[in-house]
Symmetry: C2
Subunit: 213 residues, 2 copies
């Protein structure tokens, strides 16, 4: 059985999104600052056709993230999938275009049933209406021994931790103070965490925590 | 001129003290968990006459902390100095016995004037009633080129950061979720921080941040 993992950028004051999330600011006002370390990497810039810069210790992390190494399925919250609330607008198929970079089944938590949405490149969005435990069960089965990655946002990570199902949390701790927004580690109980590896760079500190149940 | 620095253990959800601080629980309920990494080191255990254990990467950090290397004066809040509120009880001379481990001038922020209290071993407690900037100025002068260390608690660190005077923040990030208590990085503005060194261990992650003004 694979592990349930999460990769997320967090400010030093614990936020993973800024305040006032909207279509224009999907991760809230100032939220993009959480990801500046990634946008500055050679790997990311190359993927966007930007002029080259030297690689740093962050590049190995970004390569891992972008290749979804070892991940066989994803679970995410509905607000991560899109800005729509209430009944579905069937034309909305996520933020990520016709060929999303997941290349795997993605289980979206929602209160509103919807038929699966197959995309190009192996991504299919499945909509789960009976809660986080069901979504994780379906995702672990679909992952067939590979890991299940929680794609966010904060509420979905929190539900997974409260259910005692998160095995690994990869925090990219950015040296910024957001001051407001959505905090990651609220209402998560008392997880038994240990840092098992740390990668430092001048822009961010990557800490992988294992969580024992 | 020396730097203004701070050394503090913080939970992964941003707390530096637990809730309900009292004489019995000076750093709040559960707050001692923030310092367990230190109590487990060979250096600390030796200082307490406990049976030896092998050194880890945490020991260099604790040696630095215990020797107050490079520190010429301290600034702390009144609640760090003692549990007394309102008018002084002149018999209270801090938590640290006749020979406090500061061995240097300590400037205590308070609204209540009090004559300096000289202790054994070079520590003298001075009481500053005209605010953080004055305390820092006096401490930097007393430190005579060495660093001034903010001894805590959270409010004093926050006042120093808001005044744009904190130059270096050494966070010992413990892998615990406290869920309640006193948060460090609240109302501190938007400090321009960079991680300049990281020391990892199985119990804690030490990150030194420089703050540019």
């Amino acid at each position: 059985m694979g592990l349930v993992t999460c990769q997320i950028s967090m400010s030093l004051d614990g936020y993973v999104a800024g305040p006032r999330q909207s279509l224009a600011n999907p991760i809230g006002e100032g939220g993009l600052r959480l990801h500046e370390w990634m946008f500055a990497t050679a790997t990311w810039r190359q993927s966007q056709g930007l002029s080259p810069v030297p690689e740093t210790s962050d590049d190995a992390i970004v390569k891992d993230l972008m290749s979804n190494a070892g991940v066989g399925a994803f679970v995410m919250g509905r607000n991560m999938f899109g800005p729509i609330r209430g009944e579905w607008d069937m034309s909305w198929k996520g933020w990520w275009g016709d060929n999303p970079s997941y290349h795997a089944p993605v289980f979206v938590l929602t209160h509103h049933p919807r038929e699966p949405v197959p995309m190009q490149g192996g991504t299919t969005f499945y909509f789960v209406t009976d809660g986080i435990e069901s979504a994780l069960r379906q995702a672990l089965e679909a992952a067939a021994g590979k890991n299940v990655q929680i794609g966010g946002g904060a509420s979905t990570v929190q539900q997974t931790m409260r259910a005692g199902k998160l095995d690994e949390l990869n925090l990219h701790i950015t040296p910024i103070v957001l001051g407001a927004g959505e905090r990651l580690l609220e209402s998560v109980g008392e997880p038994n965490m240990s840092p098992v590896s740390v990668v430092a760079s001048p822009k961010v500190t990557h800490i992988k925590y294992r969580i024992e149940h």
